[in-house]
């Protein structure tokens, strides 16, 4: 009875420690996306390099692709950019850029300066498509499967780790299915 009285506060303390530990070690910026496993919101947007032409989600049906949300004003886009350039060289998966709330000239100049890893970039000048896709922290990267379902979302800059351990294996398995 006496030992029980000592153990109970200890157990309560340990439970609190576990909860706080789990709570503090999670990044509050990473809000789980409600889109995982759901159809990608459709868009049909003007291309950055060819304002006369459009590209839509319907055009990408049947292949696995990435949507990378970027902007010339976005500082951490510079951090992930070399990884995207490398990914484009490897030519494993088409990456579509969503130029989010940017000026066309600024976006084009940025790509000219830093290299253009995108199959195509489309223009979302007023951020409406961004809202449809639940974008809140640029850069963001989505993996879309052949059926047009969103399978993964990376919030914030891509890292070599995320690319090697999550995105590329996922892309490969989706391409084979």
């Amino acid at each position: 009875m006496k030992s029980l009285r000592l153990i109970i506060p200890l157990v309560v303390f340990l439970v609190i420690v576990v909860f706080l530990w789990a709570g503090l070690s999670r990044d509050p910026r990473e809000v789980p996306s409600p889109f995982i496993g759901k159809p990608a919101p459709a868009f049909d947007l003007v291309q950055l390099h060819a304002p006369g032409k459009k590209l839509g989600t319907a055009d990408m049906k049947g292949q696995v692709w990435l949507l990378n949300v970027w902007a010339s004003w976005c500082v951490s886009c510079r951090v992930e950019h070399p990884l995207l350039v490398e990914l484009a060289k490897a030519n494993v998966v088409p990456v579509i850029g969503l130029n989010y709330k940017d000026k066309n000239e600024a976006g084009l100049a940025w790509l000219a300066q830093n290299g253009d890893p995108y199959r195509l970039s489309v223009v979302d000048a007023d951020g409406r498509v961004g809202i449809d896709w639940g974008v809140y922290g640029v850069p963001e990267t989505f993996v879309v499967d052949k059926a047009g379902m969103i399978r993964y979302k990376q919030i914030g800059p891509l890292t070599a780790e995320a690319l090697q351990q999550k995105i590329l294996p996922l892309v490969r398995s989706l391409q084979q299915s």
Binding site: R29, P32, R128, I131, D132, W133, Y136, G137
Partner: protein, 155 residues
């Protein structure tokens, strides 16, 4: 002319009143929504670019005749329950909603158990203090003992 002026004035005034009502409604709604960029601010308070866009979107939906609930659904579909400062009651949030009451009930049980144990212990102690060896005296014995003491003062 006068009549026309009055009609214009009335139209403007009713517009202003309708706008004010919409503003008040949106303000209240936006205070219940979280800004995703600066997460401890509501959509109403945030000056982030995305908050501006979302306020514009929310206003457009309201003007299009959507109810508050439909507007919330629009945002939840895109950003998840996290945009709501008032989380919905569902199986994953049961702990959040009912946990405090469970803790309160647990506390009440502990309080009651400790109180009961203490009062039982005290009454046990009382008995110990006043029970003479060989069991409690009967009333007759007690009276007898008192008489004895009165008759034979100790000094």
């Amino acid at each position: 002319m006068k009549r026309l002026f009055a009609a214009v004035l009335l139209a403007v005034a009713s517009n202003v009143i309708a706008d004010a009502a919409l503003d008040a409604r949106l303000r209240k709604l936006e205070e219940e929504l979280r800004c995703l960029v600066c997460q401890n601010q509501s959509l109403a308070d945030s000056s982030a670019g995305l908050a501006d866009d979302l306020r514009r979107e929310v206003r457009a939906l309201a003007v299009a005749g959507k109810s508050d609930e439909e507007i919330k659904q629009f945002l939840v579909a895109r950003y998840g329950d996290f945009v709501l400062y008032n989380p919905p009651v569902k199986s994953t949030t049961w702990l959040l909603w009912f946990g405090p009451f469970v803790l309160l009930a647990g506390g009440a049980v502990v309080w009651w158990a400790v109180g009961r144990r203490r009062s039982r212990k005290r009454s046990d102690d009382d008995d110990d203090d006043f029970r003479p060896p060989g069991g409690a005296p009967t009333p007759e014995q007690a009276v007898e003992k008192a008489r004895e003491l009165l008759d034979n003062p100790l000094d």
